[in-house]
């Protein structure tokens, strides 16, 4: 379970919430309201005040690398550091079969991994980034606009995969503009007001 206590992001009021295993929290709000900053903070990518607990262990008690092994941020625009996506996949035991399975679940084939990143479409890159984030089986997924560049068919595949991750007991935090997707996936919602009106900006509510 992921527990967030008094997380301070910009001018937002302190955020406190829990996301249980198998639960999906959606973060909604207009652009610039802080959705990405919340997800980055939870992945410990930016220095912020507040406590984050994963199964009772506070972020600072855990080694930073171990924290990010378990709490995995998937950026809206994934970064690449090799010519083809294959070099960016984590090397873990038995990962090959898992990669092929995940790719197939998202409507991709293994050949896509050996095409230059520059000729892949934005949607293909986004889906491969989701695959590489899932290979070493993190326990919390932080998805930033996971379907922004996808067509209806691919969005449905990502939605199925996220549902499967929830069934497997992972916690999922998802920031998205897609109200339909959020409606179908989220158990809880965190609503952020536009950045100009920051008073009582954030509250969680059941769907």
């Amino acid at each position: 379970m992921l527990r967030v206590e008094h997380l301070r992001i910009g001018s937002l009021p302190p955020l406190s919430f829990n996301v249980s295993n198998g639960e999906c929290l959606a973060i909604e709000g207009p652009s610039g309201s802080g959705k990405t900053r919340i997800l980055r903070a939870i992945a410990d990518l930016d220095p912020v005040d507040g406590q984050l607990f994963l199964d009772g262990a506070e972020r600072r008690e855990m080694a930073p690398l171990a924290w990010r092994q378990a709490v995995r941020y998937v950026a809206a625009e994934p970064g690449w550091w090799t010519d083809t996506p294959r070099g960016t996949l984590p090397e873990v035991a038995g990962s090959r079969a898992r990669v092929v399975r995940l790719l197939a679940a998202l409507g991709l084939s293994e050949e896509e991994l050996d095409r230059p990143v520059s000729v892949l479409s934005t949607g293909e890159r986004q889906r491969i980034a989701l695959v590489r984030a899932l290979v070493d089986e993190p326990s919390v997924l932080l998805l930033d606009e996971p379907t922004a560049a996808l067509d209806v068919g691919a969005t449905a595949l990502v939605e199925e995969l996220v549902k499967f991750q929830l069934l497997a007991g992972r916690s999922v935090l998802i920031a998205s503009h897609d109200a339909g997707l959020i409606g179908r996936l989220a158990h809880t919602r965190l609503q952020l007001a536009p950045s100009s009106r920051s008073s009582n900006a954030a509250r969680t509510s059941p769907p």
Partner: protein
């Protein structure tokens, strides 16, 4: 064959060539006349002051004064390396890295050269120590400068890639490995090229100086070979220190990329 000393009228004659530059600037309306004059004047002044200072220090032959002058050279070098950066990490640590890497690399190579390789008497003889230190410092300085620049600009340009690796559980040195390797190559390239082309394209300044001073070319070449090895060594040390130090400055103890520490020039 003897050494021909230059007198002031000789220098005035040589300065006439500067008028040609002024004419070019005037003809093409480059507007450089002013900076040309100031630069030339600065050069004459700086060299005169340094020459007088060196004459004084050589006469004293004291280790304290030698160290003081070396520190002054290092401070000037640090100022150069920091002010040349397009973007730089703010704070004293960045300054310490920019100054410290070339200083210690130059110091190690110079002490190695004077105490072990050349062995003048006394080993701290400023006539040997200071020119050697200056050459080591200058080269280590440009290497450091290149590496710091390559590291900071790559960190900004490839932020998405670095953070993707960090988010996937990589440590800071792993996230920076390709960038670090490229930066180190950039920093070492000038000395590699210099060694490959020395003597073919141009005679190095020190060897030219020794030949003009009447030294046998073979002896001058031997000195130059030693200098090149020393420069390569000190540049290598400085470049590696600058590269590893930049990774530490651009990230924090939680292995987060900290571009907020960069200040635009």
């Amino acid at each position: 064959m003897t050494y021909v000393p230059l007198e002031i009228p000789d220098l005035v004659l040589a300065a006439l060539l500067l008028i040609a530059n002024g004419a070019v600037s005037f003809w093409f309306r480059l507007g450089l006349e002013r900076s040309l004059a100031i630069s030339a004047l600065r050069m004459v002044l700086q060299l005169s002051v340094v020459a007088l200072a060196l004459r004084f220090i050589f006469a004293l032959n004291s280790p304290l004064w030698t160290i003081a002058f070396a520190l002054f050279m290092a401070a000037a070098a640090a100022y150069e390396v920091v002010s040349r950066q397009e973007r730089r990490v703010s704070g004293g640590l960045a300054f310490a890295l920019g100054a410290g890497a070339p200083f210690f690399a130059g110091l190690i190579a110079t002490l190695f050269a004077t105490a072990i390789v050349i062995g003048p008497d006394p080993w701290y003889a400023p006539r040997y120590v200071l020119p050697l230190f200056g050459m080591m410092l200058g080269n280590a300085l440009s290497g450091t400068s290149l590496v710091l620049d390559a590291m900071t600009s790559a960190a900004v340009r490839e932020r998405a890639a670095i953070e993707a690796r960090i988010a996937l559980g990589a440590g800071r040195f792993e996230a920076f490995d390709a960038i670090l390797r490229r930066a180190l190559t950039t920093g070492l390239m000038p000395i590699v090229t210099a060694m490959a082309t020395t003597g073919v394209v141009a005679l190095p300044g020190m060897m030219t100086g020794q030949i003009l001073a009447g030294i046998d070319p073979v002896s001058a070449a031997k000195y130059q070979v030693m200098i090149m090895f020393l420069i390569a060594g000190s540049t290598g040390v400085a470049v590696v220190a600058a590269g590893l130090g930049s990774v530490l400055l651009l990230t924090d103890e939680r292995h987060r990329l900290r571009l907020d520490r960069l200040a635009q020039k």
